[in-house]
Subunit: 249 residues, 2 copies
């Protein structure tokens, strides 16, 4: 068996998220596994760097899987792009050490959240935007974003109330930039809890629209209480941009 | 009454084209007229610079309409963007001379046709691309494109076999450029016949894939016979980029 890593892009609009579910075959992992199974003749497990929620997109999701040696890398690559649905594409493939694991060995993830603040809709990119339609105070959002970075227990920003493990994560950067009619929030961290980026985004939007004060950021973190943070921004504005691994893999 | 001109963007995927039809309300003109009627309280005719086919997109379609003086331009603009479907947007509005007519006074139109030639799908822009999936000889296409420019009777490139008026048009330029996995054909002319750009594109693709010789281009034009030209490339690759008017309007 050989171990392959692939870089995957998807328009998440039609999907119930990354992870295979019993109740639906509309998942990204499920589609990848099905197409690889038709190639291999037996089930193939595809391991993603992490789950993405229903409706969330990816430009650089990373996954790995093991496959019989007699398939060439080019064969696998072409097979995947020929039989995957048109809203999922494999943009790169590489052979890696047999011990490489896309989830365990990821050291940093970068996500982008795009908020459309103008009144004129963006017709061609609307599926990748949260159509907020109102102006936001970007300077306040920048200051709040800074307060939310660092190494913290992010329980207040976790959408899974039954989450039992450590909620300590390190958020390296949250860049806030205005681009035309949009505000783009780019998050880098060593990992993110369920819904964490969408709740961080909802909270930053509440700062930007004046319904929350900057000072609350530290209190929210300290409270370790989901109810203290802002709303969960909708999934369609969120895209997983890339996953970083240590160089020796 | 005041005369307004609007610049309209649309993702044509869900529509039966620009022009109002009795059998369906899924047309761009129809959607615009409906939204203006709810504002004005009576039917409003929206005059486009020209029709676009079912499935064709626009980034700069131009249209005009007359409306009672008591609406402010800002009111009209906001009303349109609030009530139009999310795949149609009005990006600009201007008051013009009462005699201005979006079709009669258009002097130049620019369209772009995007052909995806790579095997890796473009997941996020797939609705604006013709997914051709095979390489094309761009140098040959450039030469053929040159032969198809100029002032000619374009009957061979007209999809409407019952067309009775003059089929003489001037095509100023056809730019052929490679951009990543795509070949982009940009057409400028004083006007285009029904399906003309899609048939020109189909013919250029046949030159690019080696099934037609460069020399045929002049013969096709001279034949004035639709059967001599290439196939009609699918609508989803085509976008109306902009419409030019003389400066004094």
């Amino acid at each position: 068996m050989k171990n392959y890593t692939i870089t995957v892009q998807y328009d998440g609009t039609r999907y119930k998220g990354w992870q295979v579910q019993k109740s639906t075959d509309q998942t990204i992992q499920g589609k990848l596994q099905n197409v690889l199974q038709t190639l291999a003749g037996h089930p193939v497990e595809v391991i993603g760097s992490g789950r993405t929620d229903a409706g969330v997109h990816a430009r650089g999701q990373v996954a790995n899987f093991h496959l019989d040696e007699h398939f060439s890398m080019d064969e696998i690559f072409q097979w995947l792009n020929r039989y995957l649905p048109e809203d999922i594409a494999v943009i790169a493939i590489e052979e890696v050490d047999e011990r490489f694991h896309a989830r365990y060995h990821a050291v940093e993830k970068t996500y982008q959240y795009r908020i459309h603040t103008g009144i004129v809709p963006n017709v061609f990119e609307r599926r990748e935007l949260y159509d907020y339609k109102q102006p936001l105070d970007i300077e306040k959002m920048k200051k709040a974003a800074e307060l939310l970075c660092g190494t913290h227990d992010y329980t207040s920003f976790c959408g899974n109330r039954k989450f039992k493990k450590s909620a300590v994560r390190t958020v390296y950067r949250i860049d806030v930039e205005k681009k035309g009619d949009e505000i783009r929030l780019t998050y880098s961290g060593d990992g993110f809890l369920q819904n964490m980026i969408r709740i961080l985004t909802g909270t930053l939007i509440e700062v930007g629209n004046g319904s929350r004060e900057l000072e609350e950021m530290t209190e929210i973190l300290e409270a370790k209480d989901r109810a203290r943070a802002g709303y969960t921004a909708p999934p369609q504005g969120l895209t997983l941009l890339h996953v970083t691994y240590e160089k020796d893999w």
